[in-house]
Structures are given as structure tokens and as C-alpha cells.
């Protein structure tokens, strides 16, 4: 790299080159960031503010009405369907997040124990994540079909005859059981693979030292290996909470009508969409969306805090 071989720079004066270098270090990064910032500010930040603004207005037939202050929120507080949906969303999220984390950890430990032989299993584990939720929702509904479903057949064959012809989608609770099964099936893969990456990052020396001390397997996992992954665990916990709060597709596809029977499977995300685009109550929908956002913002704060702890 000597000074005489500068083919690309031939014909450019030294001053122009210097000016070019100056632009490269000041303007270029912003030029490169510009499209991303336009998307983040225009298609994320502005819509959030707009949603908050809309929630203070009356809105019907997808147009924005007069300012009504907090009355959307006040009527939500008195709305039994909304309160039921809020409680249902929280139960659904807590149960499914815990189940996903526990199952994800077990799958990660199996993959970890297999070491390099677990590569194929790792791919198999991730397949449910890639499957479109509309398709997997339909398949799960088919597997839980009252008359011809494989699940009822298996339960009946196992001696649980009360499941012979059991119609899972006739009640809210049993519908939620099926939706949860599908949701967990779809969410475990990412959690398991992320935890596996974390477990693999455990320093060998510490594991070996614990093994030499004769620590049994589960104590090794819970006292030595998982505590080292605390930042990752918090991140995954909050991420899966946000996924659970956002769950929409399975509810929309599997319940008839969406949120049914008789509003018994309505959750906040579904309620927002139905109010906005089916019942055409834009202001109410915006208020529900804002409340969802506030609940999840608390979780996001935890996420950012754990990010700081992880980097320090």
C-alpha cells in the first residue's frame, strides 16, 4: 500500500479528497441512518403519539370526532367486558410465559446434554417458530376437533372418557386451553434456543469445579448455571410477556366469532382490533391500545434496566 498506487483517487485533488474524508466522517453516518430514523420516527413514534391523541377523542366510523378528555378511559373502567378482557389477558400472559420459560429451559437442557449430536434436534425444535400462525392455529383446532380430533381420541384411549366428543371451543376456558397449547408450542422454540446459547456460554471451568465437588445435576443447573444467565433470563421473560400480550392471530383464527363464544376469549389485542375495525369505535380502541402500551412499558423499562446491568 504505497502512495504511488492510488488508481481510484487519480484525478482528484488533495483538497477534494480531504473534503470527501470530512464529509465521510460527519455526514455519511447520518445519511446511512436516515432511512431507519424516518421509519422509527414516522411509522413508530408518530403513530404512538397519534394513538394517545385519538384516545382523548370520540371516534366513530373510522373518523376522529371531538375532544372528550378522559371519558373513553372512564367508560372503559365501567365496561365489564373490558375488565374481564384485561384480567383474562393478564392470566393468559402469566400462565403462558411461565409455562414457556419452564418448557423452554427443559428443552434447552436436553439440547445442551446432547452437545453436538443435538444439532438436528435444534432445527426440529425451531420449526414451530417458522410456521405461519394462521396455519398452525387451524391445525391445532383440527387436532382438538370434538369428533375427529387426535387429542380427544388420545385422551379417550388413555381412559379419560369424559373427553369423548368433548367440544373444546364451546366454552371460554377450554378454548383458552387450546389457544395456550398452540401459543406455547410456537413460543418455546425461540426461548429454548436462546437459553441454549446462554447455557453454552457458561465457562467450562466453573461447571467442572462444581462437578468435582459432587454437585448433583439439578443443583448444578439451578445454583451454578442459571444464576450466571440472569440478564438473559430477564430479557427472555420480558420478551415473552410482550409476545403474550400481543397474541392476536390464534384468537382471531381459532375462536368463532373472534373473541367468542359470547366474548369469553376476548383479550386486549383482539378487543383493540375489533373495536377499531369491526365495531368502528376508534376512540375506545385507541384507549385500550394505550393501556396495553402502558402495561408493557413497565416491562420494557425492566428490559432496558437489565440491558444496562448486562453491559456494566
Amino acid at each position: 500500500m504505497t502512495g504511488e498506487t492510488l488508481p481510484a483517487a487519480r484525478g482528484r485533488s488533495a483538497a477534494a479528497r480531504r473534503w470527501g474524508r470530512h464529509l465521510d466522517s460527519t455526514a455519511l453516518p447520518w445519511l446511512l441512518l436516515l432511512p431507519a430514523l424516518v421509519v422509527i420516527l414516522g411509522l413508530v413514534a408518530y403513530p404512538i403519539i397519534e394513538t394517545i391523541w385519538l384516545s382523548f377523542h370520540a371516534g366513530t366510523d373510522l373518523s376522529t370526532g371531538p375532544f372528550v378528555g378522559l371519558s373513553q378511559y372512564r367508560s372503559l373502567a365501567d365496561d365489564p367486558d373490558f375488565r374481564a378482557a384485561l384480567v383474562r389477558t393478564i392470566y393468559f400472559s402469566v400462565f403462558n410465559v411461565v409455562a414457556t420459560m419452564v418448557i423452554g429451559l427443559l428443552v434447552a437442557l436436553v439440547l445442551d446434554a446432547l452437545r453436538s449430536r443435538g444439532r438436528l434436534l435444534g432445527v426440529i425444535v425451531l420449526l414451530p417458530w417458522a410456521m405461519p400462525r394462521v396455519a398452525s392455529g387451524i391445525v391445532w383446532k383440527w387436532m382438538f376437533d370434538a369428533q375427529y380430533g387426535t387429542v380427544n381420541w388420545a385422551l379417550n384411549s388413555a381412559g379419560l372418557h369424559q373427553f369423548n366428543g368433548y367440544a373444546w371451543f364451546n366454552s371460554g376456558f377450554s378454548s383458552l386451553v387450546v389457544i395456550s397449547a398452540a401459543w406455547i408450542w410456537q413460543s418455546v422454540p425461540f426461548i429454548a434456543i436462546a437459553l441454549l446459547a446462554g447455557l453454552r456460554s457458561n465457562p467450562h471451568e466453573i461447571i467442572e469445579a462444581a462437578q468435582v465437588d459432587g454437585a448433583p445435576y439439578w443443583r448444578l443447573v439451578f445454583r451454578v448455571r442459571l444464576p450466571m444467565l440472569r440478564p438473559l433470563l430477564v430479557v427472555l421473560l420480558v420478551m415473552s410477556t410482550i409476545w403474550a400480550f400481543q397474541a392476536f392471530d390464534y384468537f382471531f383464527v381459532m375462536t368463532v366469532p373472534p373473541g367468542g363464544p359470547d366474548h369469553s376469549t376476548e383479550v386486549l389485542s383482539l378487543l383493540t382490533w375489533l373495536n377499531a375495525f369491526s365495531l368502528l369505535q376508534q376512540g375506545k380502541a385507541a384507549a385500550i391500545a394505550v393501556l396495553t402500551f402502558v402495561i408493557l412499558a413497565v416491562a420494557t423499562l425492566m428490559y432496558v434496566r437489565s440491558f444496562r446491568e448486562a453491559t456494566e
Binding site: 487519480r10 446434554a113 391445525v139 381420541w153
Partner: protein, 282 residues
């Protein structure tokens, strides 16, 4: 790690629970795929049986061919256009922003990174109402561009993080050498850094493709005209209309799932690597 060479019977027995767990995991993960495929191929007389039939001797392909005469090919094309558009635009945005955040001392870089991360945390229901209003007033309802615009916020955040971590893994000396040889900063990016970051590029592209191919809520909102509907919306409508035609619905589901599953299998290791890096570093 204690590795004993003597493979005693006791040791093998101790591994038995592990292999049992492996078997359970395989069955639970794969059975829905198997059941979807099998149901789509079984004749109706084998589908509607009190005891499920786990194989068929007379597979039927007629359901797949009859999908051709419906609106399904058009929906497939719509999905392909929207997912490809999102992938190209989203990956370009992610690559440039990821490079800027990896290589330049941008003021407030730390806050920019957190900002990008927060985008990933925004619930989609918060965005759907204003994005619908914006896209309607721009006259972009029932257009590919309108839906692609909705999908950019869902895909670029993880894309930027993945690209940034891949660029950080490339030694900057290579670009510096190119610049000493007279390449511009941008030239070094396009000719040196971008080709080297190819694994990251493909991972974030596939992530964008899978996300936009599978998405239902925005597609439902933006594409109201049946000729513009993407596959998730069309499949859901098909399912709601022909509720008892399980074989036909499963054939449609297979067609819908096949491209993303194929793409996923093609690049799974890189994709997983990129996503996990995003989650861990985040």
C-alpha cells in the same frame, strides 16, 4: 466435562430419560406438520373416522390442483410481492443503519441503540389504528406499498441489531486498507464490508421475509379488497367459509407454510445465530 470411555450398561440406562425427552420433543414439534400434510392428502373417508388413521394408502392430490381454480394463486402472488418488498427495503435500511452504528462515532449512539431496541418492544395494536389512518389518507389502502410500510417497523429493529453485530465482527482494517487504496468510505462499505457481512444480510432478510409472510393483523386491516389479500387473510377466510372441508383447508395451509419452512431450513443456523445474538446483546 467427564467423558468416560467405557460405555457400560448402567451409563446407557442413565441416558434413557434423555432419549425419552428427545422422542417427546420430536413428536410434539413435528406432529402438527405431519398431521397437516397427511390430512391434506387423505381422502375424506379417511379423514372423518372415529379412530384417526395415521397413514393413507390412497393419497389424493386433487385438493392441491383444485386450489388453482380459486383466488389462492393470486393471494400467493400478493404475499410474495409484499414479503419480497419488505425484505428488500427492510434489509437495505437495516444494513445501512447497522453499519453506521457499528463503524461511526455517532453522537448519542447508545441512545440510538436503545431506541432501535424499543421499537421491537412496541405492541403492534398501538400502531395499527394510526397506520391505517395514515395509509388511508395517503391513498395506499389495498396497495402493496401500504402493507410494506406497515411491515417495516416490525422487521427493521432486529435487522439493525443483527447487521450491527455482524459488522462488529468484521475487522475494520480491511475497509481501512481499501480506503488507503483510494476507495471512498461508501465504496468500502459496498465492496468490502457488505460482501463480508453476507451471513448477517441473509439472516436479517429471511427474518423480514418470514415475519411479513406470516403477519395477519396489518394484512387484515390494509388489504380489504379480496384481490389484494395476502395468504394469512385468505386462508383465514377460506377456513371460516369451508369450516368442514378440513382436507382442503390443510392443503391450503401446506402451500402457505411451505415457502417459509423451506427458507428457514435453508438458513436456519445463521438466522438462529443472529436472533440469539440480538436477544443476548439486547
Amino acid at each position: 466435562m467427564s467423558v468416560t470411555n467405557g460405555r457400560s450398561l448402567r451409563r446407557r440406562l442413565r441416558r434413557a430419560p434423555l432419549w425419552l425427552a428427545v422422542a417427546i420433543i420430536c413428536v410434539v414439534c413435528l406432529f402438527p406438520f405431519f398431521w397437516m400434510l397427511l390430512t391434506s392428502l387423505k381422502p375424506n373417508s379417511d379423514i372423518f373416522t372415529a379412530t384417526p388413521k395415521f397413514f393413507t394408502t390412497t393419497p389424493e392430490l386433487s385438493r392441491y390442483s383444485s386450489l388453482w381454480s380459486t383466488g389462492f394463486p393470486r393471494n400467493f402472488l400478493n404475499s410474495l410481492i409484499v414479503a419480497t418488498g419488505t425484505t428488500v427495503v427492510g434489509t437495505a435500511i437495516a444494513a445501512t443503519a447497522g453499519y453506521a452504528l457499528a463503524r461511526f462515532r455517532v453522537p448519542m449512539r447508545r441512545y440510538l441503540l436503545v431506541l432501535v431496541l424499543m421499537v421491537q418492544m412496541i405492541p403492534q395494536v398501538v400502531l395499527v389504528i394510526p397506520l391505517f389512518i395514515m395509509i388511508r389518507s395517503a391513498g395506499l389502502l389495498n396497495s402493496y406499498a401500504g402493507l410494506v410500510l406497515c411491515y417495516l417497523p416490525l422487521t427493521i429493529s432486529l435487522g439493525i441489531w443483527m447487521m450491527r453485530s455482524f459488522f462488529l465482527g468484521i475487522p475494520p482494517e480491511m475497509e481501512e486498507a481499501a480506503m488507503v487504496d483510494g476507495a471512498s468510505r461508501l465504496g468500502a462499505f459496498f465492496r468490502i464490508a457488505l460482501p463480508l457481512a453476507w451471513p448477517g444480510l441473509s439472516a436479517s432478510a429471511i427474518y423480514a421475509f418470514i415475519t411479513s409472510w406470516n403477519e395477519l393483523m396489518f394484512a387484515l386491516t390494509i388489504m380489504q379488497n379480496s384481490s389484494m389479500q395476502t395468504l394469512p387473510v385468505a386462508l383465514n377466510e377460506f377456513f371460516a367459509t369451508y369450516y368442514n372441508n378440513w382436507g382442503g383447508v390443510m392443503a391450503a395451509s401446506v402451500i402457505f407454510s411451505a415457502p417459509v419452512i423451506g427458507f428457514f431450513l435453508l438458513v436456519q443456523r445463521r438466522l438462529v445465530q443472529g436472533m440469539v445474538v440480538g436477544a443476548i446483546k439486547g
